[in-house]
Subunit: 396 residues, 2 copies
Amino acid sequence: MSENWKYSHRAVAMKSNVIREILKITKKPGVISFGGGLPAPELFPAEQLLEACKKVLREQPENALQYGTTEGYPPLRELIAGRMNNIGVPCHPDEILITSGSQQGLDVLGRVFLDTDSTVLLSKPTYLGAIQAFNAYGPRYLTLPSDDDGMTVDGMEELIRENSPRLIYLVPTFQNPDGRTIPMSRRKVIIDLAAKYGVPIIEDDPYSELSFDSEVPDHLRKMFPEGVILLGTFSKLLAPGLRIAWLIAPKGLAYDRCVRLKQGSDLHTNTFAQHVIYQFLKTGALDSHLEKIRKVYARRKDLMVKLMREHFPEGVSFTEPDGGLFLWVTLPEKINTTELLPKAVDRKIAYIPGSAFYTDGGGQNTMRLNYSKPTEEEIKIGIPRLAELFAEALNA
Amino acid sequence: MSENWKYSHRAVAMKSNVIREILKITKKPGVISFGGGLPAPELFPAEQLLEACKKVLREQPENALQYGTTEGYPPLRELIAGRMNNIGVPCHPDEILITSGSQQGLDVLGRVFLDTDSTVLLSKPTYLGAIQAFNAYGPRYLTLPSDDDGMTVDGMEELIRENSPRLIYLVPTFQNPDGRTIPMSRRKVIIDLAAKYGVPIIEDDPYSELSFDSEVPDHLRKMFPEGVILLGTFSKLLAPGLRIAWLIAPKGLAYDRCVRLKQGSDLHTNTFAQHVIYQFLKTGALDSHLEKIRKVYARRKDLMVKLMREHFPEGVSFTEPDGGLFLWVTLPEKINTTELLPKAVDRKIAYIPGSAFYTDGGGQNTMRLNYSKPTEEEIKIGIPRLAELFAEALNA
């Protein structure tokens, strides 16, 4: 019966998220995975979250279990606004919309801004989930290549002038997938162009609070509050399973449209999780938790980089991020990392082929490696294994 | 700046959900609201949910707080499949997709099936949230009027033959907004036509387990498993703030497409809430909770109907549902319930104007009343007040 049903164009065109499919394969026992983008689960502050649950369910069960407003739980929005202001990002609670993960923030922005054949300007490589969210609305992509400082800006003005993109999408700090950060000078160029041509910038910012040892450049939203929509999330700071993130949009048209279009898609985000995170934040426990995970992730990254230097064959280069969850490996051009993956899985090791992060089929000789989830023990075993695989492929 | 941004056609066209806007107004202290569709918050099983939280956070924090699969937490899907099979609805865990409320189920189905100008067949009145979800994808609606047995089927075959709808959308049991239930004879006609013309039926079923005293007719999914997509939810059975619902679609094309398009929209539903509901269900506590809320809602409905009989002026009729959360009032044609609402709010009483549930501007003289949220005390004060308002309007 259902074989005869007619589906939308988008449903027929839509492919599954490569990463999530690879993660399914690599979940086999014994595989050391550098593939996912998962926080270290052994560090989740479970006991403190349980204290928050107790407080919520004993003191406010009638609100915490009931329908809520689309905008989100007001005290949580106030608390987030306070945190953002503390790190120098101007925003008012009324500009904050709580979303079910930043993935939903991306979906809402696609809904609000994109029609079929609208254009979106982004870097290559860029975050795969953004592409997947936007694809539901049928846009075309304008891409600019990256160097060590993230998205390059040569030719950006021409691209904008000729195509009038509806959106500029950026992960400016410790970008997923490559860990690169766009410096201030380049941020200024991007903002000037966005202002000149009236194009909204999406500043997707899951990682800036996961900086290991250096100051991060100012948020785009700080430099240009009326022209930037910021996405923040507790997924990487606290726990992704709670699916609580936020979108900051200029009050008025943009914010109101985000609220309305989220309303049609899920009414509102989980009330209980919003209350629990609010109670957790109120105790101040997030700051000490962040301090802890920053240290652990920095140590894992350092170990990984050290082992990569020692073991990777000549001709293999990689980024050395000062924060976030990922680094980026570039192999000689003759190596295709998608074709190499089954051999890696045979050796019980996994990564994400870099081409997943390109909208135009590039990046065949690159890969993304995650250092937040694997333990030091796993890194010590996994990186030499990966190096062996590279050597073998290069000598083949 | 953001005033110059360009928005999608859907964002420019989309209006806010009338109900949610009205609910904001009527949240003022002292207003007795028959407007919302909220479960009785004083009955939420908070202590038992806290026990579930303890179990989850002490025994499985690493899974419950981490990213999960798009399909949903496998043990919860198994448990739901078991419950569905127990009430006579055939389904396999692999056909179940966990969604963030049934609203997201509707959104996912809109994504999967609708292009601009696709048609959807539904009754008038019908559930407003479905219209709002589908509207994001730009369809047109084919409507059939309702009688005491819900959607009528005269002319249905012609409508289908001439328009080839992509979907038939129904709330066949205790429909929101009118509390009506489609009897078996009519269900058979609908299924025969859906089978003959290959049109998927969405069976939106939040209320069938909230039956007060009678057997409900068989689920459409039971009668025609390969042709029906069923939406079920814990929002009305347990707590809407947890945002956990499920979609049952035939395995293969339909199911796989639902999974992929949900993936782009929020990766997956709140893992923690899925674990908590699973632990709660495992204790068997849902059955006794359902018994309790059925009794309370039935008593409130009976009281409301009794008072309506006593107080409502001649010429005002209403449905008397055997389950669910809503009843439907029809006034003489000269009364416009949208225009009457401000006067109701002045008297500190609220309802939802029936026209909100029509896609074509009908139902001006109707309204939806909710009996799950207001207490008996509030019903005793509120219904006579509403009756006075009617009398005044009829004599004006």
